[in-house]
Amino acid sequence: MSFFEKFYQIFVEKGYYTLMLDGFKSTLIITVGALAIGLVIGTIIAVIKYFGDDSKPMRPLVWLCDLYTTVVRGIPVVVLLLIFFFVIFASSKNGIAIATLTFGINSGAYMAELVRSGLNAVNAGQMEAGRSLGLSKLQTMRKIILPQAIRYILPAIFNELIALLKETSVAGYVAVVDLTRAGTLVRNNTYNAVVPLTLVAVVYLVLVVLLTRLLRLLERRMSTDDRRRKS
């Protein structure tokens, strides 16, 4: 039987395509949710550190943020996931929510450094100009500094997103049926490894290629924006 006949038999005739679709959906939910959580956490930490450098009352907050990034970055994400599932949220069986939260918290530690480098890349005169007009620190941050910082770090955020997407393939450790886990289930049930694993690999690959394309598109739009502005 050829690869394609086997493919047809497993996914269409035996109906395993529904399992794969469910897994695909879970992978997307976890990735997008974690990205959102990571961006929010990362931005909050970056802003705290940005202002904390010259403000004594914020020292404890800065210390907490440093602790968070150190701990999270020092623990493999699988171990973090196991801890969240079997210890902290042991009473909950909502694996997808726990996985989303875990990957979000993990990604937040990396996003924090990204966003911070973006904030620092914005000329210090921008903050002064905002403050001189009477805007508060947070108003200036939101309207003046962050929009410029995001432009600088957009490519890096996409890299983080791609890494995140692939990282979620370990969600199966805590009984979440994501794309990878769905492939494993199909493999166990059909005693065929080549077909499901190939499909899983190709789906990840296509997603990553699409994200890379999207980034190129955004970058090109931003650079023509810059050309227009500089002309």
Binding site: E128, A129, S132, L133, G134, R229
Partner: protein, 240 residues
């Protein structure tokens, strides 16, 4: 309007300002001159607390800005500032640059803010550039926009931090002209500058800073034609 009492600023072990005393009255156009490193820019930046003084008082419209209970943001709305490097917001159009603060601080509604912005841009001859981005403008045009941005908040006093030092020589005039207009219209101004011609022609008082103190102070005539202290005499000999 602004009383500066015994203002001091130390950076680490370095004493930049060593007790400055002066009063800026309503309608004053005060030029601050002096050699580089004399503390002129630091003095100006202390006036709106962009630089935190380490000692003394800055009393603006009755409130000591050094007092922690004072709402600095509210006071800064009344002190416009123009920077050497313009510091326009590059991700916003000229119109957005001018209206972002008035709208966020709810000073005007959108229609009134845009009307005000166009009025100001018209005064500096840039009304047709409202929808352009800062990088599409020349340095002189950007600085004129920066002046408008500060004026959009209808400040009581305008602070200028070497507003023409980053400009190509042929663009200095257009910015100085706008500042002259502003002075004629009665705006209270404090100007740190190397443009001695402007100081002589437009200001009603000149402060000569040296070593972090006001070494000499007087009318332009007294400062430029009858300098008393030796440091001012040698400074003027070099720059005039």
């Amino acid at each position: 309007m602004i009383d500066v009492v015994n203002l001091e600023k130390h950076f680490g072990g370095e004493n930049v300002l060593n007790g400055i005393n002066t009063t800026i009255h309503k309608g004053d156009v005060v030029c601050v001159i002096g050699p580089s490193g004399s503390g002129k820019s630091t003095f100006l930046r202390c006036l709106n607390m962009l630089e935190k003084p380490t000692g003394g008082k800055i009393i603006f419209e009755g409130d000591d800005l050094m007092d922690k209970r004072v709402d600095l943001n509210a006071h800064r709305q009344k002190m416009g500032m123009v920077f050497q490097q313009f510091n326009l917001f590059p991700h916003m159009t000229i119109m957005e640059n001018l209206t972002v603060a008035p709208l966020l601080l709810k000073k005007f509604d959108k229609g009134r803010a845009q009307e005000k912005a166009l009025e100001l841009l018209d005064r500096v001859g840039l009304a047709d550039r409202a929808n352009d981005y800062p990088s599409q403008l020349s340095g002189g045009q950007q600085q004129r926009v920066a002046i408008c941005r500060a004026l959009c908040m209808e400040p009581d006093v305008m602070l200028f931090d070497e507003p023409t030092s980053a400009l190509d020589p042929e663009m200095v005039g257009e910015v100085l002209d706008v500042m002259k207009e502003l002075a004629k219209a009665g705006m209270t101004m404090v100007v740190v500058t190397h443009e001695m011609g402007f100081a002589r022609e437009v200001s009603n008082r000149v402060l000569f800073l040296d070593g972090g103190v006001i070494a000499e102070e007087g009318t332009p005539d007294a400062i430029f034609n009858h300098p008393q202290c030796e440091r001012l005499q040698s400074f003027l000999a070099k720059v005039l």
